[in-house]
Symmetry: C2
Subunit: 354 residues, 2 copies
């Protein structure tokens, strides 16, 4: 059996408190005694204070939990999520905290369990807003948390860092509309759960269950409504996942028809890059070039010449971390809206009169 603090105390002939102090508060005992204790510990193979026991007693852990709405392993395939994590881990690093990445099981009941079993002092929920079962579980645990999207019924104590999704989406859609595009398609990841890739019937942006998608679709719609293109005239495309391949698959049949869209506005850069991939496929014949826009401004966007909306990824993560680790005195400061910038590159251009 592994030796415990008690064993060390016995070996040296002192009390447990003294051994504990030797580790946690060196100034509380003489250097000589401390050396003697550490020496004995070494000899006995005492691994040092058990972190779990220490956390239990101290009442805090020194770790924050990170929850992803999608599979944890998918999170690492999303460039934006990775940059967010970089920012978050930087903040954690600075505060001496660890990051506990908690995989969320698909089963709703198990989500509760996963949340309940996490030894953490708080949670950062990436890209939530509708995953209420996870947020509810966190809330029930009474732990502080930060989300990257505002909750429907957010209380004043709720903290989040995000962007104005709708306004940001509108900015890029305004740009596309100004270029003269009127036949457009909007592309999102899992716009409706379990929908197949490709065109989708969505009565209104509000019907998208995911709040981020909802906000972006609404912003796109705003821009086109302003130039007389109403929602029913807009094609909504569904992608089965947030990947280039999914983006390409979603538009596979889009440009075949008689009157194809002249622009595709995607809810993420990754999807948009997939659209560009599809458009670049050899053998594809187009009546006119298709404008494509993304969202996020990930690293690959620049090289691809993708017009997109930039949001500060690392900063988002960093602020999420700070919000959690160093709560602002003023609760109003707990709601942070980051600025976004329209980045116009070569993937968008004026529509050609036919």
């Amino acid at each position: 059996m592994k030796p415990t603090l008690q064993d060390v105390a016995d070996a040296v002939g002192v009390s447990r408190s003294t051994v504990s102090n030797a580790y946690s508060r060196p100034d509380q005992l003489s250097a000589a005694l401390r050396a003697k204790i550490l020496d004995a510990a070494q000899r006995l193979g005492y691994p040092g204070p058990n972190p779990t026991a220490r956390s239990l007693r101290r009442g805090f852990v020194g770790a924050i939990g990170v929850l992803f709405t999608s599979q944890l392993s998918y999170a690492f395939t999303d460039p934006f999520a990775v940059r967010f994590l970089a920012g978050l881990s930087g903040a954690a690093e600075r505060h001496g905290n660890s990051l506990l990445l908690v995989p969320l099981p698909a089963d709703r009941a198990q989500v509760r369990t996963a949340v309940e079993n996490a030894s953490v002092d708080g949670f950062c929920v990436y890209c939530a807003g509708d995953e209420d079962w996870a947020l509810d579980a966190i809330h029930d645990r009474g732990l502080p948390y930060v989300t990257t999207a505002p909750r429907e019924n957010a209380g004043p104590a709720d903290r989040y860092v995000g962007i104005d999704e709708r306004a940001a989406a509108r900015s890029v859609a305004d740009h596309v509309a100004a270029l003269g595009h009127r036949r457009v398609a909007l592309l999102g990841d899992t716009v409706l759960p379990d929908a197949p890739p490709g065109p989708l019937a969505l009565a209104a942006p509000q019907d998208a269950p995911h709040s981020v998608t909802r906000g972006r679709l609404a912003g796109f719609a705003d821009a086109f409504a302003a130039v007389g293109v109403d929602w029913p005239a807009i094609t909504v495309l569904n992608a089965a996942g947030n990947s280039r391949a999914a983006g390409a698959a979603a538009v596979a049949t889009t440009f075949a028809g008689d009157d194809p869209p002249t622009a595709v506005l995607a809810c993420s850069d990754v999807l948009a890059l997939g659209v560009l991939d599809a458009l670049a496929e050899p053998g594809r014949r187009l009546r006119q070039p298709v404008s494509v826009t993304g969202f996020d401004d990930i690293a690959d966007a620049a090289a691809a010449g993708l017009t997109t909306v930039r949001q500060p990824a690392e900063e988002k993560g960093r602020i999420a971390g700070e919000l959690l680790l160093k709560p602002p005195a003023d609760p109003a400061a707990g709601h942070v809206l980051l600025r976004t910038d329209l980045v116009v590159r070569t993937s968008t251009g004026p529509v050609r009169r036919s």
Copy 2:
């Protein structure tokens, strides 16, 4: 104060054991009583069993620690590390484990503390081999661990997953040598600690303190020695970090001289891409095209036409996770060497006679 299990027990008029069973072993009590207990818990706002206390009592945590040799936030900027993490998190997910990302402080003494404070059942040490203070700390805690490089004095119980760095490096260097290159430069990240960017005096590959760099440099050297180019004739370049910018900076002055290298072999794709960046700078005049090779085959390598050595990133992570979470019965199976493949693209070509 937050209610505890005891409070719930008191409220219902049962013992703590029964309440505990209501949560952890529903089959141990009548459905009616269980409902009553859960109901009372709800009413009192009991957050469910405290995970820390539970872990302490049960003797395991359900989480594995991840240690990066560099800053945690840097890890997310390294594409290969990210893919490794994706694989690792997949394995963790499958086994119902969480991942605790532990930031390692620069201070050596604090590294111990960081390791000692992590509530985990084991560690995955990314890219270690020489960070012995971290490994020692893990070892002293008596926890199982996996590394991504063999340890010098590895015992039979040590588990690791890696590649034959030297052979892999040789394969790409053989390719370059076969193309006729004899004046070559090798480029590594932090070949020697605190060295400035650019040319470096390194008496032998063995003098590189980092085992991965050491192995790769040795492999490069092997190939050129085989064609009569000895170590002193080879330029070694140091990069201050594993980034494109650092790669570019490292070769900033390399091609100015009279007799510049005709090939640069980098220890990572990221560095190699930086070299390509530098070579593509406007205004740079070269006597002949410079061949460049990388290592890892990250996503951006293909688009850049980079000749490189592919190693299976996600699989490396996945296997590391499996090795930790489901230790092989046969200890020999705890040492996994993954295969690598030379991927020849357009960044390498035959040397031109001058």
